[in-house]
Structure formats: C-alpha cells, structure tokens
Symmetry: C2
Subunit: 339 residues, 2 copies
DNA sequence: ACTTGGCACTCGCCGGTGCCGAGCGCCAAT
DNA sequence: ATTGGCGCTCGGCACCGGCGAGTGCCAAGT
C-alpha cells in the first residue's frame, strides 16, 4: 500500500468516524478504531497533508479534523461501486412497493420507504410532463361556459385543466372537439400533442374555431410552456434529529423543501439509473449549502420519467443512502414501466 | 373596574408581552408597558392569585410569569369577537385568491397566503369526499384488463381509481357501464352513489355483472370505507424561527405534520365559519402538546367541505391568527361555492 | 525515504466562584 | 383594597484555572 493509498484510507476512516460520532476525529482515536497498522504520529502527518490539500479541516485549533465538502466528494468518487443492499432488504422493498395500486400510491410508498431506509428526508418527483406521452384525453362539460380537459399520460399521471368557453360554443362543437382531440393527441408527446391541437382551429367551421383555440391555448400554456411539476415529501420529522448540531442551517433546508423550485431544478438533472451526489456548495442554492443531495432518475429503460432524492446534512451515510436511492429508483421505474 | 376585571387585564397584558418578547414577564415591566393605573405591588398580588388559579406559572423561582395553556384558553375565550382584518388586507387576500384557476390552485394559494399572513405553518384540507356529490363520472380504458374511473365532485376535486377487470369483460359491457354509471351517480353524494352502483350488477346480464361488481367494489372501498383525504402544507420554513426557543418540541410538530393523520382528525372537527382554537394539551396528541392549532371549516353556506388550520407554538398571536384563518376560510368557501 | 516516539504548545471544555439584578412574598401603613 | 418598603431567592454572566485532547515539529531509528 502506497503512502497515497494510505492517506485515502485515513480520509475514509475520518469520514466513517465523523458520520458515526458527529465529533471531530483525532489521530489517536483513528488508530484505535481502525486497522491502519501505523502510529498516531504518521497519521498526524497524513492528516496535515490532507488538510493542506483541502480534504479535511479543523473546526478550531487543537481539535480533531472534519471532512470538508471536497473531502466527502473524493470519498464518494472513490467508492468503486455502490454496494448493493442485502437480498432480504431488496425483497422487502419490492414486496412493499408491489402492493401499490396506482401512480399516487407508488410514489407515496416510495418516498415513505426511502425516508425510512435512510432516516432522512426523501423527495419524489411526479413523472415529468415534458417527456410524457398522452394515453387518453377526455372532455367533461362543467356546467355553462366551462369545460374540463382530463389528460392521462402513459405513466398513469392524470391532469385536469379548466377551460373557459367562448360565449358562442355549442354542444355540437364540444362533441366535435372530443373526437378531434382523441384523433390528434393519443400516443403523442405532450408538446407534439399541443402543437397538433394548435392546428385544429383552422380545420373546423368558424363557429367552432373559438372553442378550439381556447382549448389549444390552455393546453399549450399549462403543458408546454409551464408544465406543472409535483413533488412528494416524506420523513421531514427526521430533520430534527439529523440537524440537532447545526440548527442554524435548518432554516435553509426547510426553506428549500418549502419552495420546491430548487429541488425541482436539481431533480431535473437526474439521469436514469445512475446515482448522483451533490455535496454542500455544489448545490448552487445557498439554502442547501450545508446539505447533501443523493438523487437518481427513474424510468422505463433509458427514458427518464422523473427523479427522486434524499436530502440530508453533508455528514451522512453516503454508501447506504446511495444504495437505497438506487434500489428504490429501480423498482419505481419497473413498476411504472408496466403501466 | 372590579378587581376581577383587572386581574383579567393583567393576564391579557402578560399574554401580549410574552408573545411579543418570548421572555417571562415581571410585575414591573407590566406596569411600565401598560396603562394599568395601579402599582407593581398590586400587580404582584394579582399575579399570585392568577398563579394559584393556574393561569400563569413561573419557569423558576424569582423569574417572571408565563401564561399556561389554561391562561391562553381564558384569554382566547374572552376575546369578545374576532377582530376583522383591515379592508386593505381583505382586498389583497380576495384579489390574490380570485386569480386562481382551479381547485388545486385555490388551495395552494390559500395555504401559501395563510402561512405568509401568520408567519406560521398553514394546512389546508382538500374538500372532503364524504360530503361531496358527484358532478361527473368518466370511464377510461387503460389497455387490456384495466379501467380507470375518473370522478369529479362538485367542489372540483378530481379523483381517479384503477380497476382490474375480470377476464371476461367485453367492450360492450364497458360501454354499458359508462351509460349506467352516468345515470346512477350524477348529482348524488359519494356514499349514495356507491350504494347505487352496488345495485347495478343485478340489473345487467350475467356476462357484465362481474365487471360491474369489480367497479362497485373499488368505488365503495376507496370512496366510502376509506376515502382519501389530502392535505397541503405551506410555510414549514417558519418553523425554524417560531421554535428556536424550544427546539426539543420541534420534533413532535414535524412528526405531526409528516403523519397527517392527527391533523386530519383535528380538521374533521372544524365547523363552518367559526374559528376553533386548540391549545397545548387540548390536542390529545402528545406530539402537539407544545403547539396550538387555529382551525376553521370552509364551505358553501352551512355545508362544510373541508378545514384549514394554522399550527404554531402556544405562544402565538391568537387574535391575528384567528382573523387570518377566518378570512381565508371565508374566501375559499366563496370561491369553491361558485364552481 | 518513511516511520516513530517524545515534547512543548494551543485552546476548547468544564466546574467553581462571586457578583448583579430582576422578581417575589410578606407586611405594616394608608 | 392599595401601596411602598424590605429581605430573600436564584438565574445569568463573567472570570478563572486546571484538564486533556489534539497538534506540529524534530531528532532518532529502520
């Protein structure tokens, strides 16, 4: 084992101990608790180098060392492979998720499970509308002057939008709308579908075209220009134990969870089946400067339907969390692919 | 002013000061900050009586007094009437809420508004299914062996349920189902509607009855036996500032917000247009022993569609919170009544 | 070229001490 | 019933000093 390798082992040991104890770790404690086969003085030297390189830091002179964001980053990058969960755990997850009856249920169970597995806050994004295709579209009259358009996507997501009708809309126009819509959108992506609907007003009698334009406008606005993304949270009560030491940073996390915008941006970057870790400052939101996010995309095959994540303090159990996130993302993808 | 009245004034002053400063308040501070027209010694005597009666307490000997749950309770009960918001505030609320386009939007805006007005956590319940009537029901084929039933209620809530079809279901049966369902449920309450559907299998050919029973079973189970209640939260980031002093009790609140069951139980008790306050131990959930809930029901006329609430520490601005809760509940009711 | 034990030094933590002042209850006087 | 006065209690704060964990450096050993 080269000196360089050993230094990394020291870093690994520091991360492990710090995650476990939440206290700065010193050279002596390190040699006691790990089989490093060198003396404390050697470790001290290694630690000095690690500190010089910015991987660890001392909260104050003459205290132990603590990993920096950069240190966690190296630690995570060097995890050769995500260690899989035990078969028993995998089965338990699979069985629990397999009981779900519909999309809402799948997502609710997933976040819940994820937060329980990791003892952190878990987030799951609803299958994104931007990549979804239309499985079915339904037109429901809502009393005078109003129509409800119900869109069901391939992932099982059901979205409804209210359309205010122009005064001259007749029952026949609505019937025509129902037929034309079904023809032009089924099986297509939302963006394409909306574009197709935009073409419709020109193809029908001028009496109906007002109605058709109104519908086209709503569809384009709410599904293409600003598609609504939804999140489900779970395990927020874990916050109080996870952040007891730095209560000042708790505000930021709560803020981020409340806003959701930041989270959605981060989840949008998730790629299928690979787990991404963002540590501290790497999340460019100041609210999350003290947090780490472990994210993964879920989907069928290589298409990403949405993302899920675990949010915790930078001092978290990365290997365990990554394994849990990957496992849950896989099963969610499988389940939604079936539908 | 009788001595009794003055004692109540003292209580009111203690509550006001404690809410403002978060610090135990003593006799001297009281006479300085309020026009009580008596000396500190008299106040001390009154405070001794109030303490004996359990309305206030000392955190430790020789500190100021703090209101107890019972003290807050008396304070709230004696608020003759909820002081209304200023016209400017009312208009701002009304304008903000009037922009919403559908149910989801109304509820999202309401909670958000409520949390911003009160600087606390706000909760809004989706219009409850138990009292809702069916405005429309739609049957959507979901590929082989599966059907999606979409139910739209009078409050604008849209619920979908997946039904697994028996193997022998034919297209004609599904078409028949669509017609029969529309006939038997429109305008009825969910419970009645489900009961009506239960009767249908007997009225159709045996080939279709399997399908009809499957649908009836799902409807009854998911709408009558365990109707899904949903909550929307907002302002959780206010928690960090509201609970800085007693971080130990934060866990309980987070837990309650995460669980939702407790909140739903408490919201279920809300009555139309009257604001209810539950203080500390009065919430029989141990998690909320340090919290106060200000709840109100919203609805059209006297029918309660659902409830909304503000959750905060027992030391909160009751008059202001009650006014905000009442105002928002009213506007939400008005908006949903229109639909 | 590493590694190691020794050594002096730093500094946060903890317990003890003493002072200050807010707040209280009691009481005698009005 | 109210008031001013008096003695008492106790939490909070600042200060102090010892303890010990942890460090960096260095000279000696492998």
């Amino acid at each position: 084992m080269s000196a360089d390798d050993r230094r990394f082992e020291v870093l690994r040991a520091i991360v492990a101990d710090y995650v476990a104890t939440h206290e700065p770790v010193g050279s002596k404690a390190l040699v006691e608790r790990h089989q490093l086969n060198v003396s404390a003085a050697t470790i001290r030297h290694d630690m000095a180098v690690l500190e010089e390189d910015g991987f660890i830091a001392q909260p104050h002179t003459s205290a132990g060392r603590v990993p920096t964001d950069k240190g966690y980053r190296l630690f995570v990058d060097r995890l050769a492979a995500v260690k899989p969960l035990s078969p028993a755990e995998r089965h338990a997850i699979q069985r629990f998720l397999a009981e779900s009856v519909d999309l809402d249920d799948v997502l609710r169970r997933s976040v819940r499970l994820l937060s329980q597995l990791t003892h952190q806050v878990a987030v799951v994004q609803y299958p994104t509308l931007t990549r979804a295709t239309v499985r079915h579209i339904e037109v429901v009259p809502l009393g005078p002057g109003r129509l409800l358009i119900v869109v069901i996507t391939d992932s099982g997501r059901v979205e409804q939008r209210v359309v205010e009708l122009p005064a001259d809309a007749t029952e026949e126009s609505v019937a025509l709308l129902r037929i034309k819509l079904a023809e032009s959108v089924n099986g297509r992506r939302l963006a394409e579908a909306a574009a197709a609907v935009e073409q419709l007003p020109g193809q029908v009698s001028s009496r109906s075209s007002g109605l058709f334009s109104a519908v086209a406008a709503v569809l384009t606005r709410t599904f293409v220009d600003s598609p609504e993304e939804r999140l489900v949270l779970s395990g927020t009560s874990n916050l109080s134990s996870a952040w007891i030491d730095q209560p000042s940073t708790l505000r930021g996390v709560l803020e981020a969870l409340d806003e959701q915008v930041t989270l959605l941006k981060l989840l949008a970057l998730a790629t299928a089946d690979s787990v991404t870790v963002r540590i501290g400052e790497e999340n460019d939101d100041a609210n999350l400067a003290a947090s780490a996010l472990v994210t993964a995309g879920y989907g069928a095959g290589s298409t990403v339907m949405g993302g899920l994540a675990v949010v915790g303090p930078t001092r978290m159990d990365y290997p365990g969390t990554m394994a849990a996130v990957r496992a849950v993302a896989r099963y969610v993808g499988e389940l939604l692919g079936e539908r």
